[in-house]
């Protein structure tokens, strides 16, 4: 399989935090959701991918090229959207276009203009007058107006209203129609992204807890709802997390290995994430 992005044993140690031997493989043509709570290591990982901070150990490739030695040859093919917009606030979209024309050899002016129009961004409006949603849309327009083959986004959709998130989802889906395109998107809230992600990678306290096709995750896990007495009869090996309340028990279970007649709800990615984190705190 060809990979758009690989991280092998990537490690970075800070005084109070360690990104511990991270392994991630994103196949070409796919969307990967990179999820975890705040402070789990998502942004550090993305900075390491972009080679913005120095890693202690490991190897990273983007579009098959080493991100340290061969980054220059693929820079034009990487579209990045960070949490905060990094353009000077006293510019407008027209001026951004002029600058980007000089920055990217592959800059596509028409493409940029069509995005700006689609997003209803006034070309003469100063960035400092933008709403958060507009800033994100401008950043995405820039990221997609050069020869991008991989789109890397750090918390790009958090804090946006549902309508804008919906628009951004459409752009992702449009982008991925080309089989050579891939998306790596980090987020701590994923409900709407969950639908379109092919892979889910879950990071917790600097370690990858799981990384696999979303469908397999959703098919494997379920939420068991039962009484305490019933719960004691359940094989402990299938239980992955427990939440007790006054009237019963909810547990994250491997539903296909649970024999018997139980009430089992579907678990979504957020359920899996929350139960995992809680279980580790006990």
């Amino acid at each position: 399989m060809e990979y758009a992005l690989t991280l092998e044993n990537v490690t970075k140690e800070y005084k109070d935090f360690k990104l511990d031997h991270i392994n991630v493989y994103l196949p070409k043509g796919c969307i990967m959701g990179f999820i975890g709570e705040n402070g789990a290591g998502k942004s550090t990982t993305i900075k390491l991918i972009m080679d913005l901070v120095k890693r202690d150990e490991g190897k990273i490739t983007i579009l098959g090229k080493d991100n340290k030695t061969e980054l220059n040859s693929i820079k034009e093919n990487i579209g990045v959207v960070m949490n905060e917009l990094c353009f000077p606030e006293n510019l407008n979209a027209r001026e951004i276009n002029k600058i980007m024309k000089k920055v990217y050899k592959t800059w596509d002016e028409d493409q940029f203009h069509s995005f700006i129009q689609k997003f209803s961004i006034a070309e003469s409006k100063l960035i400092k007058e933008y709403s958060r949603g507009m800033k994100m849309k401008l950043a995405i327009a820039v990221a997609l107006s050069h020869d991008s083959k991989i789109l890397i986004l750090d918390e790009a959709t958090s804090g946006l209203d549902p309508i804008v998130r919906e628009e951004i989802l459409d752009i992702f889906l449009e982008f991925i129609q080309d089989e050579s395109h891939s998306i790596f998107v980090s987020s701590h809230i994923i409900s709407d992204l969950e639908k379109i992600c092919d892979y889910i990678t879950f990071i917790h306290k600097g370690k990858i807890v799981l990384s696999e096709p979303k469908d397999e995750l959703l098919e494997r896990y379920g939420i068991l709802k039962c009484t305490e007495e019933e719960f004691e009869q359940v094989n402990p090996a299938v239980i992955k997390g427990v939440r007790k309340n006054k009237f019963g028990i909810e547990a994250l279970v491997l539903k296909n290995e649970l024999k018997g007649n139980y009430v089992i709800d579907k678990a979504d990615i957020e359920d899996i994430m929350i139960f995992y984190i809680k279980e580790q705190m006990v």
Binding site: G29, C30, I31, L169, L173, E174, I176, Q177, E179, K195, I196, C197, D198, P213, K214, D215, L218, E219, K266
Partner: protein, 135 residues
């Protein structure tokens, strides 16, 4: 296989339920199968590409890929590299088998209920015979 050269993509309806217990890929498989069996899709009709289907239904490409692979394995569609996926030539035996299987599933429910309520096979046969004759 010139029959598969048709480039026009047929229109079809696929309804995905997120609250259903049936996995999404299975929902796609059973709905496309139903369209083929009912004759709404005909031999040689081009199915939408996996990526387009994923985009329109807002689901993962892996899900649509799995659905198409399943349909291909069961002989309902053929996929040609670089061209896409097409409805396979109608295999009457296969369709008959599917139809019988569907009826069998309903019958099983009837049997389960009959056992639960203590209704004998003779009574069931009598009921079915009457109903089938339309009385």
């Amino acid at each position: 296989m010139s029959i598969y050269n048709i480039t026009m993509v047929i229109t079809m309806n696929i309804i995905i339920s997120n609250s259903s217990n049936q996995p999404i890929y299975e929902q796609i498989v059973s709905q496309i199968k139903a369209l083929i069996i009912s004759g709404e899709l005909n031999e040689g009709d081009a199915l939408p590409s996996m990526r387009l289907l994923a985009k329109e239904l807002r689901i993962s490409v892996i899900t649509t890929k799995r659905a198409y692979e399943e349909l291909e394995k069961e002989g309902f569609i053929v996929s040609i590299t670089g061209k896409g996926s097409f409805v396979a030539s109608k295999n009457l035996e296969l369709i008959k088998e599917q139809q019988l299987k569907e009826i069998e599933n309903h019958m099983q429910e009837i049997i389960d209920l009959a056992n639960l309520y203590g209704i004998s096979l003779e009574e069931l046969i009598e009921m079915l015979t009457l109903m089938y004759k339309g009385e």
